[in-house]
Protein backbone atom coordinates (compact mmCIF):
# COMPACT_ATOMS: atom_id res chain seq x y z
CA UNK A 1 0.00 0.00 0.00
CA UNK A 2 1.31 3.44 -0.84
CA UNK A 3 2.02 6.06 1.83
CA UNK A 4 -1.03 8.09 0.77
CA UNK A 5 -3.26 5.06 1.20
CA UNK A 6 -1.90 4.38 4.69
CA UNK A 7 -2.45 7.98 5.72
CA UNK A 8 -6.04 7.92 4.46
CA UNK A 9 -6.76 4.68 6.27
CA UNK A 10 -5.23 6.02 9.48
CA UNK A 11 -7.37 9.15 9.20
CA UNK A 12 -10.48 7.03 8.66
CA UNK A 13 -9.61 4.89 11.70
CA UNK A 14 -9.08 8.00 13.85
CA UNK A 15 -12.45 9.45 12.81
CA UNK A 16 -14.10 6.12 13.54
CA UNK A 17 -12.61 5.91 17.05
CA UNK A 18 -13.58 9.50 17.89
CA UNK A 19 -17.14 8.94 16.66
CA UNK A 20 -17.63 5.52 18.19
CA UNK A 21 -16.01 6.06 21.58
CA UNK A 22 -18.80 7.97 23.37
CA UNK A 23 -21.34 5.44 22.12
CA UNK A 24 -19.11 2.59 23.26
CA UNK A 25 -18.63 4.25 26.65
CA UNK A 26 -22.39 4.50 27.12
CA UNK A 27 -22.78 0.86 26.15
CA UNK A 28 -19.90 -0.38 28.36
CA UNK A 29 -21.00 1.66 31.37
CA UNK A 30 -24.49 0.21 31.15
CA UNK A 31 -23.02 -3.26 31.81
CA UNK A 32 -20.58 -2.30 34.60
CA UNK A 33 -21.47 -2.86 38.24
CA UNK A 34 -21.74 0.37 40.29
CA UNK A 35 -18.33 -0.22 41.94
CA UNK A 36 -16.61 -0.36 38.59
CA UNK A 37 -18.31 2.81 37.36
CA UNK A 38 -17.19 4.70 40.48
CA UNK A 39 -13.65 3.25 40.43
CA UNK A 40 -10.71 5.69 40.49
CA UNK A 41 -9.14 4.02 37.40
CA UNK A 42 -11.74 3.65 34.68
CA UNK A 43 -11.63 0.32 32.83
CA UNK A 44 -12.21 0.05 29.11
CA UNK A 45 -14.64 -2.86 29.37
CA UNK A 46 -16.80 -4.32 32.17
CA UNK A 47 -14.82 -6.84 34.24
CA UNK A 48 -18.02 -8.28 35.76
CA UNK A 49 -20.83 -7.54 33.28
CA UNK A 50 -24.24 -7.16 34.85
CA UNK A 51 -27.81 -6.56 33.64
CA UNK A 52 -29.00 -4.97 36.89
CA UNK A 53 -28.98 -1.44 35.42
CA UNK A 54 -31.23 -2.54 32.55
CA UNK A 55 -33.62 -4.02 35.06
CA UNK A 56 -33.62 -0.73 36.95
CA UNK A 57 -34.23 1.29 33.80
CA UNK A 58 -37.02 -0.90 32.49
CA UNK A 59 -38.59 -1.09 35.95
CA UNK A 60 -38.48 2.67 36.39
CA UNK A 61 -41.76 4.48 36.70
CA UNK A 62 -43.35 5.14 33.27
CA UNK A 63 -40.60 3.61 31.13
CA UNK A 64 -43.03 1.67 28.93
CA UNK A 65 -45.41 4.65 28.65
CA UNK A 66 -42.66 6.90 27.38
CA UNK A 67 -41.37 4.20 25.07
CA UNK A 68 -44.84 3.78 23.58
CA UNK A 69 -45.27 7.57 23.24
CA UNK A 70 -41.98 7.90 21.40
CA UNK A 71 -42.78 5.04 19.06
CA UNK A 72 -46.31 6.27 18.31
CA UNK A 73 -45.31 9.88 17.68
CA UNK A 74 -42.27 8.96 15.57
CA UNK A 75 -44.03 6.28 13.55
CA UNK A 76 -47.08 8.43 12.82
CA UNK A 77 -44.98 11.45 11.86
CA UNK A 78 -42.77 9.41 9.51
CA UNK A 79 -45.68 7.67 7.78
CA UNK A 80 -47.53 10.95 7.37
CA UNK A 81 -44.44 12.69 5.98
CA UNK A 82 -43.79 9.84 3.53
CA UNK A 83 -47.33 9.87 2.19
CA UNK A 84 -47.52 13.63 1.76
CA UNK A 85 -44.00 14.03 0.40
CA UNK A 86 -44.45 11.22 -2.11
CA UNK A 87 -47.41 13.04 -3.62
CA UNK A 88 -45.67 16.44 -3.46
CA UNK A 89 -42.49 15.05 -4.98
CA UNK A 90 -44.50 13.49 -7.79
CA UNK A 91 -46.26 16.79 -8.48
CA UNK A 92 -42.99 18.71 -8.45
CA UNK A 93 -40.94 16.22 -10.49
CA UNK A 94 -43.52 15.11 -13.02
CA UNK A 95 -46.15 17.78 -13.53
CA UNK A 96 -46.07 21.31 -14.91
CA UNK A 97 -48.19 23.76 -12.98
CA UNK A 98 -48.29 27.43 -12.16
CA UNK A 99 -46.31 28.19 -9.00
CA UNK A 100 -44.17 25.05 -9.16
CA UNK A 101 -40.93 27.05 -8.97
CA UNK A 102 -42.20 29.10 -6.05
CA UNK A 103 -43.27 25.93 -4.29
CA UNK A 104 -39.79 24.41 -4.56
CA UNK A 105 -38.19 27.60 -3.26
CA UNK A 106 -40.64 27.61 -0.36
CA UNK A 107 -39.81 24.02 0.55
CA UNK A 108 -36.09 24.81 0.53
CA UNK A 109 -36.67 27.94 2.63
CA UNK A 110 -38.69 25.93 5.15
CA UNK A 111 -35.83 23.46 5.40
CA UNK A 112 -33.34 26.22 6.11
CA UNK A 113 -35.21 27.85 8.99
CA UNK A 114 -33.70 26.76 12.34
CA UNK A 115 -36.19 24.65 14.26
CA UNK A 116 -35.40 26.41 17.53
CA UNK A 117 -36.75 29.65 16.05
CA UNK A 118 -40.12 27.94 15.81
CA UNK A 119 -40.27 26.88 19.47
CA UNK A 120 -42.11 29.96 20.69
CA UNK A 121 -44.55 30.28 17.79
CA UNK A 122 -45.35 26.58 18.11
CA UNK A 123 -45.93 26.95 21.83
CA UNK A 124 -48.31 29.87 21.20
CA UNK A 125 -50.20 27.95 18.51
CA UNK A 126 -50.50 24.90 20.76
CA UNK A 127 -51.62 27.00 23.72
CA UNK A 128 -54.24 28.91 21.71
CA UNK A 129 -55.63 25.78 20.06
CA UNK A 130 -55.54 23.90 23.38
CA UNK A 131 -53.14 21.35 21.98
CA UNK A 132 -50.57 21.59 24.76
CA UNK A 133 -49.79 18.22 26.34
CA UNK A 134 -51.05 16.48 23.22
CA UNK A 135 -49.24 13.73 21.29
CA UNK A 136 -51.16 14.75 18.15
CA UNK A 137 -49.57 18.20 18.30
CA UNK A 138 -46.16 16.62 18.73
CA UNK A 139 -46.78 14.34 15.76
CA UNK A 140 -47.78 17.35 13.69
CA UNK A 141 -44.60 19.19 14.63
CA UNK A 142 -42.35 16.25 13.73
CA UNK A 143 -44.24 15.81 10.48
CA UNK A 144 -43.59 19.49 9.72
CA UNK A 145 -39.89 19.21 10.57
CA UNK A 146 -39.23 16.16 8.39
CA UNK A 147 -41.45 17.13 5.45
CA UNK A 148 -39.19 19.57 3.53
CA UNK A 149 -36.23 17.19 3.57
CA UNK A 150 -38.36 14.24 2.46
CA UNK A 151 -39.91 16.22 -0.40
CA UNK A 152 -36.54 17.41 -1.67
CA UNK A 153 -34.94 13.96 -1.40
CA UNK A 154 -37.80 12.06 -2.99
CA UNK A 155 -38.04 14.64 -5.77
CA UNK A 156 -34.39 13.89 -6.57
CA UNK A 157 -34.99 10.14 -6.66
CA UNK A 158 -38.10 10.59 -8.78
CA UNK A 159 -36.44 12.98 -11.23
CA UNK A 160 -33.71 10.37 -11.82
CA UNK A 161 -36.31 7.92 -13.15
CA UNK A 162 -36.94 8.66 -16.84
CA UNK A 163 -40.55 9.55 -17.67
CA UNK A 164 -40.23 7.18 -20.59
CA UNK A 165 -40.18 4.21 -18.21
CA UNK A 166 -43.58 5.26 -16.91
CA UNK A 167 -44.81 5.92 -20.44
CA UNK A 168 -43.65 2.49 -21.52
CA UNK A 169 -45.90 1.02 -18.84
CA UNK A 170 -48.83 3.09 -20.12
CA UNK A 171 -48.14 1.85 -23.65
CA UNK A 172 -48.11 -1.71 -22.29
CA UNK A 173 -51.60 -1.09 -20.96
CA UNK A 174 -51.12 -0.01 -17.34
CA UNK A 175 -53.30 2.65 -15.76
CA UNK A 176 -51.38 5.64 -14.41
CA UNK A 177 -51.53 4.46 -10.76
CA UNK A 178 -50.60 0.93 -11.84
CA UNK A 179 -47.64 2.27 -13.83
CA UNK A 180 -46.52 4.11 -10.73
CA UNK A 181 -46.90 1.05 -8.53
CA UNK A 182 -45.35 -1.48 -10.89
CA UNK A 183 -42.51 0.57 -12.34
CA UNK A 184 -41.76 3.72 -10.37
CA UNK A 185 -42.34 2.45 -6.86
CA UNK A 186 -39.67 -0.31 -6.94
CA UNK A 187 -37.16 2.23 -8.22
CA UNK A 188 -38.18 4.66 -5.55
CA UNK A 189 -37.88 2.17 -2.67
CA UNK A 190 -34.30 3.13 -1.73
CA UNK A 191 -35.34 6.77 -1.64
CA UNK A 192 -38.28 5.96 0.60
CA UNK A 193 -35.97 3.98 2.90
CA UNK A 194 -33.44 6.80 3.09
CA UNK A 195 -36.04 9.44 3.84
CA UNK A 196 -37.90 7.36 6.39
CA UNK A 197 -34.60 6.63 8.13
CA UNK A 198 -33.85 10.32 8.33
CA UNK A 199 -37.37 11.10 9.53
CA UNK A 200 -37.20 8.39 12.16
CA UNK A 201 -33.87 9.58 13.56
CA UNK A 202 -34.98 13.20 13.63
CA UNK A 203 -38.28 12.57 15.37
CA UNK A 204 -37.01 9.87 17.74
CA UNK A 205 -34.15 12.03 19.03
CA UNK A 206 -36.07 15.32 19.19
CA UNK A 207 -35.92 17.01 22.58
CA UNK A 208 -36.63 20.75 22.37
CA UNK A 209 -40.25 20.61 21.17
CA UNK A 210 -41.38 17.90 23.61
CA UNK A 211 -39.86 19.92 26.38
CA UNK A 212 -41.86 23.01 25.38
CA UNK A 213 -45.12 21.43 24.25
CA UNK A 214 -45.59 18.79 26.99
CA UNK A 215 -45.65 20.69 30.25
CA UNK A 216 -48.29 19.46 32.66
CA UNK A 217 -49.21 15.96 31.65
CA UNK A 218 -46.01 14.03 32.39
CA UNK A 219 -47.46 10.83 30.94
CA UNK A 220 -47.28 12.39 27.48
CA UNK A 221 -43.52 12.79 27.55
CA UNK A 222 -41.22 10.92 25.18
CA UNK A 223 -37.98 9.06 25.86
CA UNK A 224 -35.50 11.94 25.32
CA UNK A 225 -37.21 14.10 27.95
CA UNK A 226 -37.59 11.21 30.32
CA UNK A 227 -33.90 10.42 29.91
CA UNK A 228 -32.90 13.98 30.71
CA UNK A 229 -34.83 13.73 33.98
CA UNK A 230 -33.31 10.36 34.80
CA UNK A 231 -30.84 11.75 37.27
CA UNK A 232 -33.65 13.08 39.41
CA UNK A 233 -35.42 9.75 39.38
CA UNK A 234 -32.41 7.70 40.38
CA UNK A 235 -30.18 10.20 42.10
CA UNK A 236 -26.86 9.72 40.36
CA UNK A 237 -27.30 6.15 39.23
CA UNK A 238 -25.01 6.38 36.17
CA UNK A 239 -25.38 2.70 35.38
CA UNK A 240 -29.17 2.92 35.09
CA UNK A 241 -28.89 6.20 33.14
CA UNK A 242 -26.56 4.58 30.63
CA UNK A 243 -28.75 1.48 30.38
CA UNK A 244 -31.76 3.68 29.67
CA UNK A 245 -29.74 5.61 27.08
CA UNK A 246 -28.73 2.34 25.42
CA UNK A 247 -32.33 1.21 25.27
CA UNK A 248 -33.20 4.61 23.81
CA UNK A 249 -30.54 4.37 21.09
CA UNK A 250 -31.41 0.77 20.23
CA UNK A 251 -34.46 1.32 17.96
CA UNK A 252 -32.60 3.85 15.81
CA UNK A 253 -29.75 1.39 15.45
CA UNK A 254 -32.12 -1.45 14.56
CA UNK A 255 -34.03 0.64 12.04
CA UNK A 256 -30.76 1.69 10.48
CA UNK A 257 -29.39 -1.85 10.29
CA UNK A 258 -32.65 -3.00 8.75
CA UNK A 259 -32.71 -0.24 6.14
CA UNK A 260 -29.07 0.43 5.39
CA UNK A 261 -28.55 -2.44 2.98
CA UNK A 262 -31.46 -1.31 0.82
CA UNK A 263 -30.44 2.34 1.07
CA UNK A 264 -26.84 1.58 0.14
CA UNK A 265 -27.80 -0.73 -2.71
CA UNK A 266 -30.17 1.89 -4.05
CA UNK A 267 -27.51 4.54 -4.09
CA UNK A 268 -25.09 2.35 -6.04
CA UNK A 269 -27.21 0.60 -8.66
CA UNK A 270 -28.19 2.87 -11.53
CA UNK A 271 -31.83 2.58 -12.49
CA UNK A 272 -31.30 3.03 -16.19
CA UNK A 273 -28.31 2.93 -18.46
CA UNK A 274 -27.98 4.84 -21.69
Amino acid sequence: MRAGGIALNAAAAAVLVVMIFPVYWMFATAFKPAAEIQAETPSLWPAHPTLEHFAAAVGADGFWTFWRNSLAVTGAAVLLALAVSLLSAFAVARMRWRGRGAFIVMVFAAQMAPWEALLVPMFIIARDTELLDSLAMLTGVYFMITLPFTIVTLRGFLAAIPVEVEEAALVDGCTRPAAFRRVVFPLLAPGLMATSLFGFITAWNEFAFVNVLIIKDQDKRTLPVWLSSFRDVFGTDWGATMAAATLFALPVLLVFLFLQRRVGAGMITGAVKG
Binding site: V165, E167, V171, V272, K273, G274
Partner: protein, 363 residues
Protein backbone atom coordinates in the same frame (compact mmCIF):
# COMPACT_ATOMS: atom_id res chain seq x y z
CA UNK B 1 -55.23 -1.64 -40.58
CA UNK B 2 -53.81 1.62 -41.95
CA UNK B 3 -52.67 4.44 -39.68
CA UNK B 4 -53.89 7.82 -40.85
CA UNK B 5 -52.75 11.21 -39.60
CA UNK B 6 -55.32 13.69 -40.77
CA UNK B 7 -54.43 17.40 -40.63
CA UNK B 8 -52.31 16.98 -37.50
CA UNK B 9 -50.88 20.13 -35.94
CA UNK B 10 -48.90 20.30 -32.72
CA UNK B 11 -48.14 23.66 -31.17
CA UNK B 12 -46.32 24.08 -27.86
CA UNK B 13 -45.62 27.38 -26.15
CA UNK B 14 -46.42 29.34 -29.33
CA UNK B 15 -44.09 27.22 -31.46
CA UNK B 16 -45.25 24.96 -34.23
CA UNK B 17 -43.80 21.46 -33.81
CA UNK B 18 -45.90 19.71 -36.41
CA UNK B 19 -47.58 21.59 -39.23
CA UNK B 20 -50.51 20.06 -41.11
CA UNK B 21 -49.36 16.45 -41.30
CA UNK B 22 -51.47 14.35 -43.68
CA UNK B 23 -50.24 10.78 -43.99
CA UNK B 24 -51.76 7.44 -44.75
CA UNK B 25 -49.47 4.63 -43.69
CA UNK B 26 -50.47 1.19 -44.95
CA UNK B 27 -49.80 -2.14 -43.20
CA UNK B 28 -46.15 -3.07 -43.13
CA UNK B 29 -43.16 -0.90 -42.65
CA UNK B 30 -42.76 2.81 -43.35
CA UNK B 31 -39.58 4.76 -42.67
CA UNK B 32 -39.72 8.29 -41.31
CA UNK B 33 -36.56 10.24 -41.96
CA UNK B 34 -35.59 13.77 -41.06
CA UNK B 35 -32.77 15.77 -39.52
CA UNK B 36 -32.56 16.52 -35.80
CA UNK B 37 -35.54 18.61 -34.59
CA UNK B 38 -37.58 17.80 -37.69
CA UNK B 39 -40.49 16.64 -35.49
CA UNK B 40 -39.96 12.88 -35.81
CA UNK B 41 -40.39 12.13 -32.11
CA UNK B 42 -43.39 14.45 -31.85
CA UNK B 43 -45.04 12.70 -34.79
CA UNK B 44 -44.36 9.28 -33.24
CA UNK B 45 -45.78 10.40 -29.89
CA UNK B 46 -48.93 11.71 -31.56
CA UNK B 47 -49.30 8.46 -33.51
CA UNK B 48 -48.89 6.47 -30.27
CA UNK B 49 -51.32 8.57 -28.26
CA UNK B 50 -48.69 9.82 -25.82
CA UNK B 51 -49.20 13.40 -27.04
CA UNK B 52 -52.60 14.73 -28.06
CA UNK B 53 -52.44 16.77 -31.27
CA UNK B 54 -53.40 20.45 -30.99
CA UNK B 55 -55.48 19.92 -34.12
CA UNK B 56 -56.30 17.00 -36.39
CA UNK B 57 -57.18 13.32 -36.07
CA UNK B 58 -55.39 10.02 -35.68
CA UNK B 59 -57.24 7.14 -37.33
CA UNK B 60 -56.31 3.47 -36.94
CA UNK B 61 -58.11 0.82 -38.95
CA UNK B 62 -60.86 3.27 -39.86
CA UNK B 63 -61.49 4.23 -36.23
CA UNK B 64 -60.79 7.71 -34.85
CA UNK B 65 -58.52 7.09 -31.84
CA UNK B 66 -57.45 10.71 -31.24
CA UNK B 67 -59.11 10.93 -27.84
CA UNK B 68 -58.46 7.34 -26.75
CA UNK B 69 -55.74 7.04 -24.12
CA UNK B 70 -52.56 5.21 -25.03
CA UNK B 71 -53.16 2.30 -22.67
CA UNK B 72 -56.40 1.41 -24.43
CA UNK B 73 -54.81 1.47 -27.87
CA UNK B 74 -53.03 -1.39 -29.52
CA UNK B 75 -49.60 0.25 -29.84
CA UNK B 76 -46.01 -0.57 -29.03
CA UNK B 77 -43.22 1.97 -28.76
CA UNK B 78 -39.43 1.65 -28.80
CA UNK B 79 -37.46 4.65 -27.62
CA UNK B 80 -34.10 5.97 -28.70
CA UNK B 81 -32.91 5.59 -25.09
CA UNK B 82 -32.96 1.97 -23.98
CA UNK B 83 -36.16 1.96 -21.95
CA UNK B 84 -36.92 -1.18 -19.96
CA UNK B 85 -38.30 -1.83 -16.48
CA UNK B 86 -35.13 -1.79 -14.37
CA UNK B 87 -36.61 -3.79 -11.49
CA UNK B 88 -37.81 -6.66 -13.68
CA UNK B 89 -35.82 -9.40 -15.40
CA UNK B 90 -35.57 -9.55 -19.19
CA UNK B 91 -38.18 -12.32 -19.12
CA UNK B 92 -40.63 -10.25 -17.09
CA UNK B 93 -39.94 -7.19 -19.22
CA UNK B 94 -40.98 -9.05 -22.35
CA UNK B 95 -43.90 -10.74 -20.59
CA UNK B 96 -45.21 -7.47 -19.17
CA UNK B 97 -47.37 -6.32 -22.12
CA UNK B 98 -48.72 -9.88 -22.50
CA UNK B 99 -49.75 -10.07 -18.85
CA UNK B 100 -51.61 -6.78 -19.24
CA UNK B 101 -53.51 -7.96 -22.32
CA UNK B 102 -56.70 -9.68 -21.12
CA UNK B 103 -57.28 -11.41 -24.44
CA UNK B 104 -53.85 -13.02 -24.48
CA UNK B 105 -54.04 -16.60 -23.12
CA UNK B 106 -52.05 -16.95 -19.88
CA UNK B 107 -50.62 -20.32 -20.88
CA UNK B 108 -49.25 -18.85 -24.11
CA UNK B 109 -47.12 -16.22 -22.39
CA UNK B 110 -44.07 -18.37 -21.70
CA UNK B 111 -43.91 -19.69 -25.26
CA UNK B 112 -44.31 -16.21 -26.76
CA UNK B 113 -41.64 -14.65 -24.51
CA UNK B 114 -39.10 -17.33 -25.47
CA UNK B 115 -40.04 -17.09 -29.14
CA UNK B 116 -39.51 -13.31 -29.30
CA UNK B 117 -36.34 -13.49 -27.20
CA UNK B 118 -34.91 -16.11 -29.59
CA UNK B 119 -35.81 -13.91 -32.55
CA UNK B 120 -34.00 -10.97 -30.97
CA UNK B 121 -31.00 -13.12 -30.03
CA UNK B 122 -31.37 -12.64 -26.27
CA UNK B 123 -32.75 -16.09 -25.43
CA UNK B 124 -29.95 -16.82 -22.96
CA UNK B 125 -30.28 -13.53 -21.07
CA UNK B 126 -33.84 -13.96 -19.81
CA UNK B 127 -32.90 -14.08 -16.13
CA UNK B 128 -30.78 -10.93 -16.16
CA UNK B 129 -31.91 -7.45 -15.24
CA UNK B 130 -31.53 -4.57 -17.73
CA UNK B 131 -28.63 -3.04 -15.77
CA UNK B 132 -26.66 -6.25 -16.35
CA UNK B 133 -26.93 -5.99 -20.14
CA UNK B 134 -24.92 -4.13 -22.76
CA UNK B 135 -26.57 -1.26 -24.63
CA UNK B 136 -27.28 -3.45 -27.65
CA UNK B 137 -28.84 -6.17 -25.49
CA UNK B 138 -30.96 -3.59 -23.65
CA UNK B 139 -32.31 -2.27 -26.91
CA UNK B 140 -32.95 -5.82 -28.14
CA UNK B 141 -34.96 -6.38 -24.95
CA UNK B 142 -36.95 -3.20 -25.57
CA UNK B 143 -37.69 -4.26 -29.15
CA UNK B 144 -38.62 -7.77 -27.97
CA UNK B 145 -41.10 -6.22 -25.51
CA UNK B 146 -42.60 -4.18 -28.35
CA UNK B 147 -42.87 -7.21 -30.63
CA UNK B 148 -44.24 -9.60 -28.00
CA UNK B 149 -47.82 -8.44 -28.17
CA UNK B 150 -49.03 -8.11 -31.75
CA UNK B 151 -49.95 -4.41 -32.01
CA UNK B 152 -51.89 -2.51 -34.66
CA UNK B 153 -49.24 0.18 -34.60
CA UNK B 154 -45.56 -0.44 -33.83
CA UNK B 155 -43.49 2.72 -33.45
CA UNK B 156 -39.70 2.76 -33.30
CA UNK B 157 -38.16 6.14 -32.57
CA UNK B 158 -34.54 6.09 -33.76
CA UNK B 159 -33.94 2.77 -31.98
CA UNK B 160 -30.37 2.41 -33.21
CA UNK B 161 -29.21 6.00 -32.70
CA UNK B 162 -27.63 5.42 -29.29
CA UNK B 163 -25.78 2.25 -30.26
CA UNK B 164 -22.19 2.17 -31.42
CA UNK B 165 -21.82 1.71 -35.13
CA UNK B 166 -20.94 -2.00 -35.21
CA UNK B 167 -23.97 -2.97 -33.13
CA UNK B 168 -26.03 -0.59 -35.21
CA UNK B 169 -25.05 -2.26 -38.47
CA UNK B 170 -25.65 -5.71 -37.04
CA UNK B 171 -29.09 -4.86 -35.63
CA UNK B 172 -30.04 -2.93 -38.78
CA UNK B 173 -29.41 -6.02 -40.84
CA UNK B 174 -31.59 -8.11 -38.48
CA UNK B 175 -34.43 -5.66 -38.01
CA UNK B 176 -36.20 -5.84 -41.33
CA UNK B 177 -36.86 -9.56 -41.09
CA UNK B 178 -38.03 -9.11 -37.49
CA UNK B 179 -40.77 -6.72 -38.53
CA UNK B 180 -41.85 -8.97 -41.39
CA UNK B 181 -44.31 -10.84 -39.11
CA UNK B 182 -45.71 -7.72 -37.48
CA UNK B 183 -49.40 -7.64 -38.36
CA UNK B 184 -50.00 -3.90 -38.34
CA UNK B 185 -48.35 -0.66 -39.32
CA UNK B 186 -44.68 -0.32 -38.44
CA UNK B 187 -43.31 3.23 -38.41
CA UNK B 188 -39.56 3.46 -38.04
CA UNK B 189 -37.94 6.86 -37.56
CA UNK B 190 -34.31 7.63 -38.23
CA UNK B 191 -31.92 10.42 -39.11
CA UNK B 192 -29.60 8.01 -40.91
CA UNK B 193 -30.06 7.73 -44.71
CA UNK B 194 -28.33 4.34 -44.68
CA UNK B 195 -31.19 2.92 -42.58
CA UNK B 196 -33.88 4.27 -44.90
CA UNK B 197 -32.03 2.97 -47.95
CA UNK B 198 -31.36 -0.46 -46.37
CA UNK B 199 -34.99 -0.99 -45.34
CA UNK B 200 -36.14 0.10 -48.80
CA UNK B 201 -39.62 0.69 -47.39
CA UNK B 202 -41.90 3.59 -48.34
CA UNK B 203 -40.23 6.63 -46.81
CA UNK B 204 -41.61 9.88 -45.42
CA UNK B 205 -39.16 12.79 -45.36
CA UNK B 206 -39.89 15.19 -42.53
CA UNK B 207 -38.36 18.64 -42.10
CA UNK B 208 -39.23 21.54 -39.82
CA UNK B 209 -42.44 19.84 -38.74
CA UNK B 210 -43.70 19.29 -42.29
CA UNK B 211 -43.88 16.37 -44.68
CA UNK B 212 -41.34 17.16 -47.41
CA UNK B 213 -41.92 14.14 -49.57
CA UNK B 214 -43.17 10.57 -49.57
CA UNK B 215 -41.74 7.93 -51.82
CA UNK B 216 -39.28 5.16 -52.44
CA UNK B 217 -35.94 5.95 -50.75
CA UNK B 218 -33.70 4.78 -53.61
CA UNK B 219 -35.72 6.80 -56.09
CA UNK B 220 -35.58 9.83 -53.81
CA UNK B 221 -31.85 9.41 -53.44
CA UNK B 222 -31.45 9.18 -57.17
CA UNK B 223 -33.80 12.03 -58.11
CA UNK B 224 -34.45 14.11 -54.99
CA UNK B 225 -37.44 16.35 -55.75
CA UNK B 226 -36.08 19.15 -53.58
CA UNK B 227 -32.85 20.30 -52.04
CA UNK B 228 -34.19 19.52 -48.53
CA UNK B 229 -34.94 15.91 -49.49
CA UNK B 230 -31.53 15.56 -51.12
CA UNK B 231 -29.81 16.91 -48.02
CA UNK B 232 -31.82 14.61 -45.71
CA UNK B 233 -30.94 11.51 -47.74
CA UNK B 234 -27.25 12.29 -48.21
CA UNK B 235 -24.58 10.99 -45.90
CA UNK B 236 -21.83 12.23 -46.13
CA UNK B 237 -23.48 15.64 -46.64
CA UNK B 238 -24.13 17.00 -50.10
CA UNK B 239 -21.65 19.62 -51.41
CA UNK B 240 -23.53 22.79 -52.37
CA UNK B 241 -22.17 25.26 -54.91
CA UNK B 242 -23.81 28.45 -56.25
CA UNK B 243 -24.53 28.76 -59.95
CA UNK B 244 -26.41 30.90 -62.40
CA UNK B 245 -28.04 30.16 -65.80
CA UNK B 246 -26.56 32.16 -68.65
CA UNK B 247 -27.35 31.62 -72.34
CA UNK B 248 -28.35 28.00 -71.95
CA UNK B 249 -25.37 27.13 -69.76
CA UNK B 250 -24.87 27.02 -66.01
CA UNK B 251 -21.91 28.97 -64.74
CA UNK B 252 -20.32 28.01 -61.45
CA UNK B 253 -17.12 29.41 -59.97
CA UNK B 254 -15.62 30.15 -63.38
CA UNK B 255 -16.60 26.83 -65.01
CA UNK B 256 -19.72 26.08 -66.99
CA UNK B 257 -21.80 23.27 -68.51
CA UNK B 258 -24.98 23.03 -70.61
CA UNK B 259 -28.10 23.85 -68.57
CA UNK B 260 -30.73 21.10 -68.22
CA UNK B 261 -33.76 22.27 -70.19
CA UNK B 262 -34.59 25.83 -71.12
CA UNK B 263 -34.36 28.34 -68.31
CA UNK B 264 -34.28 32.10 -68.32
CA UNK B 265 -30.86 33.65 -68.15
CA UNK B 266 -30.05 34.98 -64.72
CA UNK B 267 -31.88 32.22 -62.80
CA UNK B 268 -29.94 31.42 -59.69
CA UNK B 269 -29.38 27.75 -58.97
CA UNK B 270 -27.73 25.57 -56.34
CA UNK B 271 -25.59 22.69 -57.52
CA UNK B 272 -25.60 19.57 -55.39
CA UNK B 273 -22.54 17.35 -55.75
CA UNK B 274 -22.18 14.14 -53.74
CA UNK B 275 -18.69 13.73 -52.27
CA UNK B 276 -18.09 10.40 -54.03
CA UNK B 277 -18.73 12.09 -57.40
CA UNK B 278 -15.79 14.45 -56.91
CA UNK B 279 -12.50 13.28 -58.44
CA UNK B 280 -8.96 14.58 -58.57
CA UNK B 281 -8.29 12.96 -61.97
CA UNK B 282 -10.18 14.09 -65.11
CA UNK B 283 -10.62 10.48 -66.34
CA UNK B 284 -10.91 11.75 -69.89
CA UNK B 285 -14.25 13.44 -69.17
CA UNK B 286 -15.18 16.87 -70.39
CA UNK B 287 -16.11 17.69 -66.83
CA UNK B 288 -16.16 20.71 -64.65
CA UNK B 289 -12.73 21.58 -63.29
CA UNK B 290 -12.09 23.82 -60.30
CA UNK B 291 -8.72 24.88 -58.91
CA UNK B 292 -8.59 24.11 -55.18
CA UNK B 293 -6.33 23.97 -52.18
CA UNK B 294 -6.05 20.86 -49.98
CA UNK B 295 -7.00 21.59 -46.36
CA UNK B 296 -7.39 18.29 -44.59
CA UNK B 297 -7.52 14.57 -45.32
CA UNK B 298 -9.62 12.27 -43.08
CA UNK B 299 -8.67 8.66 -43.67
CA UNK B 300 -11.32 6.17 -42.48
CA UNK B 301 -9.60 3.15 -44.02
CA UNK B 302 -11.69 2.18 -46.99
CA UNK B 303 -12.12 5.80 -48.06
CA UNK B 304 -10.44 9.18 -47.61
CA UNK B 305 -12.45 12.34 -47.10
CA UNK B 306 -10.54 15.21 -48.63
CA UNK B 307 -11.55 18.71 -47.52
CA UNK B 308 -10.84 21.29 -50.23
CA UNK B 309 -11.03 25.07 -50.44
CA UNK B 310 -12.34 26.46 -53.74
CA UNK B 311 -12.22 30.00 -55.12
CA UNK B 312 -14.33 32.45 -53.15
CA UNK B 313 -13.83 30.55 -49.88
CA UNK B 314 -16.19 27.69 -50.89
CA UNK B 315 -15.70 24.43 -49.06
CA UNK B 316 -15.92 21.07 -50.86
CA UNK B 317 -15.50 17.51 -49.63
CA UNK B 318 -14.34 14.69 -51.90
CA UNK B 319 -14.74 11.03 -50.97
CA UNK B 320 -11.86 9.16 -52.57
CA UNK B 321 -11.43 5.38 -52.53
CA UNK B 322 -8.69 3.91 -50.36
CA UNK B 323 -6.38 5.41 -47.78
CA UNK B 324 -4.48 8.23 -49.42
CA UNK B 325 -1.96 10.73 -48.18
CA UNK B 326 -2.14 14.44 -48.96
CA UNK B 327 -0.19 17.46 -47.83
CA UNK B 328 -2.36 20.28 -46.54
CA UNK B 329 -1.78 23.54 -48.43
CA UNK B 330 -0.97 21.85 -51.77
CA UNK B 331 -2.91 22.89 -54.86
CA UNK B 332 -5.19 20.43 -56.64
CA UNK B 333 -7.74 20.39 -59.43
CA UNK B 334 -11.20 19.09 -58.67
CA UNK B 335 -13.16 17.34 -61.42
CA UNK B 336 -16.91 16.85 -61.42
CA UNK B 337 -18.89 15.10 -64.14
CA UNK B 338 -21.89 17.34 -64.95
CA UNK B 339 -23.92 14.15 -65.43
CA UNK B 340 -23.81 13.66 -61.66
CA UNK B 341 -24.68 17.22 -60.65
CA UNK B 342 -28.09 17.88 -59.11
CA UNK B 343 -29.35 21.32 -60.10
CA UNK B 344 -31.87 22.97 -57.75
CA UNK B 345 -33.74 26.23 -58.17
CA UNK B 346 -32.29 28.62 -55.59
CA UNK B 347 -35.73 30.15 -54.96
CA UNK B 348 -37.88 27.15 -54.02
CA UNK B 349 -35.28 24.39 -53.80
CA UNK B 350 -37.02 22.33 -56.50
CA UNK B 351 -34.99 20.01 -58.72
CA UNK B 352 -34.47 21.50 -62.21
CA UNK B 353 -33.14 18.34 -63.73
CA UNK B 354 -30.84 15.51 -62.96
CA UNK B 355 -28.14 16.77 -65.28
CA UNK B 356 -27.30 18.20 -68.61
CA UNK B 357 -26.10 14.88 -69.94
CA UNK B 358 -29.30 13.14 -68.89
CA UNK B 359 -31.37 15.94 -70.40
CA UNK B 360 -29.51 15.43 -73.69
CA UNK B 361 -30.05 11.71 -73.46
CA UNK B 362 -33.78 11.95 -72.92
CA UNK B 363 -34.33 15.12 -74.89
Amino acid sequence: MALILDGVHVRQRGESWLDDINLELPDGMTTLIGPVAAGKTTLMRVAAGLLPPTEGRVVVDGKDVTSISVRKRSVAFVYQQFINYPSLTVYENIASPLRLEPSFPKEGIDRRVREVAELMGIGDLLRRRPAELSGGQQQRTAIARALARPADVLLLDEPLANLDYKLREQLRADLKSMFADSPGTVLYSTADPAEALTFAAPTVVLGEGRVRHVGDPAEMYDRPPTLAVAATLSDPPLNLLPGVVRDGRIECLGASFPAPGAHASGLRVVLGVRPHQVALEPDGLEGLAFPAEIRLAEVTGSVTFLHLLLAGGRHLVAELPGARLFTPGEPATVHVDPAHVLVFDDNDGGLLARSAAEADLHG
